[in-house]
């Protein structure tokens, strides 16, 4: 089920009503959340509910096994089993065809012919998200950062909790599981900020991202015929499309969770206002970047090693992050570009000696955005060749010309304004607008715009494919 579908408009209030008025005990509420989450997920494809259940239950059981033993080898064996199982699911569903195709290409390059067919595999929605969440649980239990949960209902509710199951935020067990094990309380403030986040998220997705999408598709499809300025606009539009799409999803997820008295972590903090690439990664897809930091970068040695090793670790982490997004060389390139952009900042102190001037802030923000946008071209392109062709076109194709594809600029400006308005109040947008009439006017404009811009067919979120 999509957040931006008419079904969700009925689904959410129904679950909300049952949750608070019919099922008042914590356990009953958790059962409801599991049922609702499985309905939510099964709406897309019932066949993969079994996979979700098996993946969740195996980690629940492995968590107990890890905790039950003091023998380091046994604990490690259970952890490895969890990693192999979860990463195996990912490898099969997400990467098998990529590996087969790459092997065939490699053999072909060596002058050998291989007649290996690709597999007919459907990628289950959200598999990268819920497997990573499950992995975080077993690792945290292994590291003794948390005790395993004994209640299987609470654990299943933690993995499958519908607001964040298919596209995050990727919650850490240590943050979300305790919330599944204590009675929840509805508060007016949570309810209001939850609804505000949902409306803002829908606006970002339906009005901004979905309006930019056809322009982006158009430019990328016929990039060879576009002028340089139009290619540049196309890349900027994609930067804002993916931001509106994904942060919109996160807003709706966080807002929906708030309605059930559950707090999800913030996933975006006005990332395009970042001053450098390190800053960007503290603001973009925070749940994923912190996951890779804690479960890959730090175990590789983190900042405790020499500079050369840190550079290597950084590149590995970024490339892995790119590969997490999808089985394509373009995602690896995207990760590698971010890694390379990050390298110059390794070893530099986070806080500058003196606060930078406004002009310097503006220039560094624009430069960071430019680097991120170029990387997005690789993310969006179908192949590395296409990405290079696109970037080359920006600087070579009719560079001195007036851009024609200006119809997307208002949507970009709207998203920037929304970010500026809410930059100090990410978790409660519009909450700082003091005048009630102005707040309500904003709500109405946003809701009516969402209705007006909603498409005939619901448009899927970009991150569902990961």
């Amino acid at each position: 089920m999509l957040f931006n579908s008419i079904h969700y408009l009925w689904f959410l209030p129904t679950v909300f009503a049952l949750y608070w008025w019919v099922l008042r005990t914590m356990r009953a509420q958790n059962v409801l959340l599991i049922v609702a989450s499985y309905v939510f997920y099964g709406w897309w494809d019932v066949r993969f509910l079994a996979l979700l259940f098996i993946s969740s239950f195996s980690d629940y059981w492995l968590g107990l096994w890890i905790d039950s033993s003091d023998d380091a080898r046994v604990r490690k064996r259970a952890l490895v089993l969890s990693l192999v199982f979860n990463l195996g699911i990912l490898a099969y569903f997400k990467y098998s065809n990529f590996f087969i195709a790459s092997a065939v290409d490699a053999l072909h390059a060596l002058g050998m012919q291989a007649n290996i067919g690709t597999l007919n595999v459907i990628l289950p929605v959200g598999v990268s998200f819920y497997t990573f969440q499950s992995i975080s649980y077993t690792i945290e239990v292994y590291r003794r950062e948390m005790r395993p949960v004994r209640d299987p209902i609470a654990y299943l509710a933690f993995v499958s909790f519908f607001p964040h199951m298919v596209a995050g935020p990727i919650m850490r067990a240590v943050d979300l599981l305790p919330q599944m094990s204590i009675p929840r309380r509805f508060t007016y403030a949570n309810g209001v900020s939850g609804l505000r986040l949902i409306v803002q998220g829908l606006f970002k997705k339906v009005v901004i991202a979905d309006s930019l999408a056809p322009m982006v598709d158009d430019v990328f499809r016929q990039y060879a015929w576009e002028t340089g300025p139009d290619l540049m606009l196309g890349a900027i539009y994609f930067a804002f499309q993916i931001y509106g799409d994904f942060s919109g999803y996160s807003d709706i997820a966080i807002g929906s969770a708030k309605l059930f008295g559950i707090e999800l972590m913030t996933n975006f903090r006005t990332p395009y206002l970042s001053r450098d690439i390190g800053d960007f990664w503290k603001r973009w897809h925070i749940s994923l970047s912190t996951w890779f930091r804690d479960f890959l970068y730090i175990p590789l040695g983190g900042n405790r090693v020499g500079k050369a090793r840190r550079i290597f670790n950084t590149l590995v982490t970024f490339i892995a992050s790119g590969f997490w997004h999808g089985a394509n060389w373009t995602f690896l390139a995207w990760g590698a570009i971010h890694g390379l952009l990050y390298v110059p900042y390794i070893g530099k102190k986070d806080v500058p000696a003196a606060p930078p001037g406004r002009l310097r802030v503006l220039v560094s923000t624009l430069l960071t955005f430019a680097g991120v946008t170029i990387a997005w071209v690789f993310f969006r392109a179908k192949s590395i060749g296409e990405a290079f062709g696109y970037v080359k076109g920006i600087f070579t194709q009719n560079v001195i010309s007036i851009p024609e594809r200006i119809e997307g600029i208002p949507f970009v400006v709207l998203l920037v304004l929304l970010d500026l308005l809410n930059r100090n109040n990410i978790r409660d947008p519009f909450g700082q607008v003091p005048q009630r009439w102005l707040r309500y006017t904003l709500y109405f404009i946003l809701v009516l715009a969402v209705v007006l811009f909603s498409r005939r067919n619901d448009v899927q979120f970009i991150y569902f494919q990961f």
Binding site: Y188, F444, V451, F453
Partner: protein, 300 residues
């Protein structure tokens, strides 16, 4: 919880009220439009579309024929029934709707277009905005109900505009000359030569020609037996569909059908197009004049 629910419901009710007011405003605004044909089906229903020559076809018919130019040159009332995105069955459905409210025309210009011959899933709605103004009309509702893309909520105020923000913008700004409902596109947009590419016309679709002609003839026999049919070739940028007329020629029923040859030597000129497959106002005026002249040469 009570306060939360009360305030949420009040806000939702206010929002609904606002939607109704906005919808009323848009209806009032669109009725004040300078083009009477803004709501095409409404005009037909009101019997104001009565004409001696009508044009049927898909978007090429809609955009390429300037009914005013045809009327002036032929000295007969003309009306454009072009239906964006739809194949022959739906085009004939619209003609049928027209015939329910107006006497049969003397001549039906059939814009010969390979895209009209493509079979279309009957449950698909294309360019919903063609029906938007008439969506509450039971006849129109009957056409679109049950088709993919139509939602029961689409009869609600404001919700019926969902997916067409540019349409609302056009009503608000009265920018209706470029609107599809204006009878033809008076767009002065010119095709960018950089983006102009050869239009690929799948010749395999000619397999459908016999079905196409048979459907048209059965419909004519049943609903408009006294009218003649004029087949006109449609222009594409840097291309033509002359081969379709050539395929029709040996199958022509000379008693009721005529071929209308038009000089399409100007099709390579991008200044006549707003995109690769549709003429702009300049191109439409030029093409309509050529069609009218050719018809006159044939005694019309």
């Amino acid at each position: 919880m009570r306060t939360f629910l009360r305030k949420t419901l009040v806000a939702a009710a206010l929002c609904a009220l606002l939607a109704i007011l906005l919808d009323l405003g848009l209806t009032w605004r669109s009725k004040g439009n300078q083009y009477e044909r803004y709501a095409d089906l409404n005009v037909i229903r009101a019997g104001k579309a009565e004409a001696e020559v009508v044009v049927i076809g898909n978007s090429r018919a809609r955009y390429h024929y300037d009914a005013r130019v045809l009327s002036d040159r032929l000295d007969r009332r003309c009306y454009n029934l072009g239906m964006i995105g739809y194949p022959l069955q739906d085009q004939l459905g619209k003609l049928e709707y027209y015939l329910e409210h107006s006497p049969a025309p003397d001549l039906v210009i059939v814009n010969v277009d390979i895209a009209s011959m493509k079979p279309l899933a009957r449950d698909t709605i294309i360019q919903y905005e063609q029906f938007l103004d008439d969506i509450r009309d039971p006849a129109v509702l009957g056409i679109v109900r049950g088709k993919t893309g139509f939602r029961p909520t689409d009869v609600l105020p404001w919700v019926r505009y969902a997916g067409f923000p540019e349409y609302v913008w056009k009503i608000v700004t009265k920018d209706t000359v470029t609107n599809v409902h204006a009878g033809f596109a008076a767009s002065d947009k010119v095709l960018d030569p950089l983006r102009a590419r050869q239009v690929s016309i799948p010749k395999e679709a000619l397999e459908m020609l016999d079905v196409y002609l048979a459907t048209l003839r059965v419909h004519r026999q049943r609903y408009w037996p006294h009218a003649k049919v004029a087949f006109v070739e449609t222009p594409y940028h840097d291309s033509d569909s002359l081969w379709i007329l050539q395929a029709i020629a040996p199958k022509l029923d000379a008693r009721s059908e005529l071929l209308v040859p038009v000089d399409l030597g100007w099709t390579h000129d991008p200044t006549n197009y707003m995109n690769r497959t549709h003429l702009n106002a300049k191109g439409a005026a030029l093409f309509s004049a050529l069609v009218a002249d050719s018809l006159r040469a044939k005694g019309w």
